[in-house]
């Protein structure tokens, strides 16, 4: 279908694209191993977060948590904020985003264009400063509503009801699903759906491993595991460093012509790992992975050009996924 009543109705239904050049070659006579990319940048605001934003707002409206004219407060480092800003605009809410100041300039510009207000929490102060900033805002505005994507079941449900069924419809022979691990909504929702429908499916998480500056300030006792996370949905979980993520992001555009953000590189790195394992084991594999967004918002990082060392340096201290 190519005609929709409104932009909100155009959410989801993204293309699944084969990667014939990046898929590993198999020995003659061996079963095929194929990679498939789900292009989530083809959503209304250009990222997979449109699905979660739409479901979370709808659920909040239906439950009475959100009323017309309300202000939504969301801590976000980018894509969720942009998606919520669009949904809030079309559904009649005001959006205030709290975000660390070390996110890319494009993201803040986009948020403002969509009409969101931004409150920065200093990057240098680390999580403690972010907590202090957030506590202060919440205390000053007790009437502002939080959707809290890390613990909101509607986030995972969006993927259980849309992303998962789309994948199964487009690729009934799917053997592996690979996606990034952040709020865990994509993996939990899609993973649960596919596990119910496909015997033996592998659900694989690719988690970004940032530069030292991001972790440096973090105390282990202040760690955080999103409420949505259920380890039993996953079969494996990879940690992918900045260098590998950049390398794969570049490889994806060079070899297959897909211009993606760096979190895609991390996901592709894990997808290639399982694809090559399948080749070695002589198994058939249809590996579908998620491209959460395109690269436009990250051009200002400079990490698409220069050497890998320069790119790694450019992304040090940045939340690139």
């Amino acid at each position: 279908m190519a005609r929709y009543e409104s932009l909100l109705d155009a959410c989801g239904g993204t293309p699944l694209v084969g990667l014939p050049r990046l898929s590993p070659a198999v020995p003659e006579g061996a079963p095929p191993v194929r990679l498939w990319a789900k292009l989530e940048d083809r959503n209304p605001t250009g990222s997979i977060k449109d699905r979660a934003a739409l479901f979370m707002v709808r659920e909040a409206e239906e439950s009475g948590h959100l009323r017309p004219g309300d202000t939504i407060l969301e801590p976000t480092s980018g894509n969720t904020g942009i998606a919520l800003a669009m949904v809030a605009k079309l559904r009649g809410y005001r959006l205030v985003c709290v975000m660390p100041e070390n996110v890319s300039a494009e993201r803040t510009q986009l948020l403002r264009m969509y009409g969101a207000e931004i409150i920065f929490s200093p990057a240098a102060g680390g999580s403690n400063q972010a907590v202090a900033t957030a506590k202060q805002i919440a205390a000053e505005h007790p009437d502002w509503k939080m959707l809290f994507q890390y613990g909101n079941p509607a986030n995972a449900r969006a993927h259980y009801e849309t992303t998962g069924p789309e994948l199964l419809h487009d690729l009934p022979t799917i053997t592996h699903f690979v996606a990034g691990l952040g709020t865990t909504g994509t993996l939990m929702g899609t993973g649960r759906f596919l596990r119910e429908k496909v015997d033996g499916i592998q659900i694989i998480a690719a988690e970004p491993r940032y530069g030292e500056l991001v972790y440096g300030l973090r105390n282990i006792d202040e760690g955080y595991v999103p409420e949505l996370y259920d380890a039993s949905v996953l079969t494996r979980r990879f940690s992918v460093g900045t260098r590998d993520a950049v390398l794969r992001t570049r490889q994806l555009i060079e070899v297959e012509g897909i211009f993606a953000g760096f979190s895609t590189g991390a996901v592709l790195h894990a997808a290639l790992a399982v694809a090559h394992e399948a080749v070695r084991a002589g198994n058939r594999a249809d590996v579908a992975f998620v491209v959460p967004d395109a690269g436009w918002k990250y051009l200002s990082t400079g990490a698409y050009g220069g050497t890998l060392n320069e790119a790694e340096e450019a992304l040090e201290g940045q939340l690139w996924a």
Binding site: M99, P100, V131, A134, I220, E222, F238, L319
Partner: protein, 105 residues
């Protein structure tokens, strides 16, 4: 050859500031015991008193989360690369603000 272990900044007080240390063992438990013998106190930050991996600690063997490889029983061998990291969510700093707003921290 030994097993290379990457230590996060917050735990380098136990390694004399070293970012990378070396250890040995056939399982993660043996490796951690070996590390603790050289860097006293490290084990206590990784393992709970009940003997499980600390909830907010992630350990990866060759970039794969050990919780899916048998946790503390995960096999390790010379030449492996082990990474210890604090558990954080995507949008690493945003989450802290979110948790705070909900009174979670």
């Amino acid at each position: 050859m030994a097993i290379e272990v990457r230590v996060p900044t917050i735990l380098r007080t136990y390694t004399g500031g070293a970012k990378i240390v070396e250890g040995s063992g056939d399982t993660l438990t043996e490796l951690i015991d070996d590390l603790d013998a050289k860097h006293s106190g490290l084990k206590g930050r990784l393992i709970t008193p009940e003997g499980g991996l600390h909830r907010f600690v992630n350990i990866y063997v060759n970039d794969e989360d050990v919780r899916f490889l048998g946790a503390l029983d995960a096999k390790v061998k010379d030449g492996d690369s082990v990474t210890i990291l604090p558990a954080v969510a995507g949008g690493a700093l945003g989450f802290a603000a979110a948790a705070a707003l909900l009174g979670g921290l």
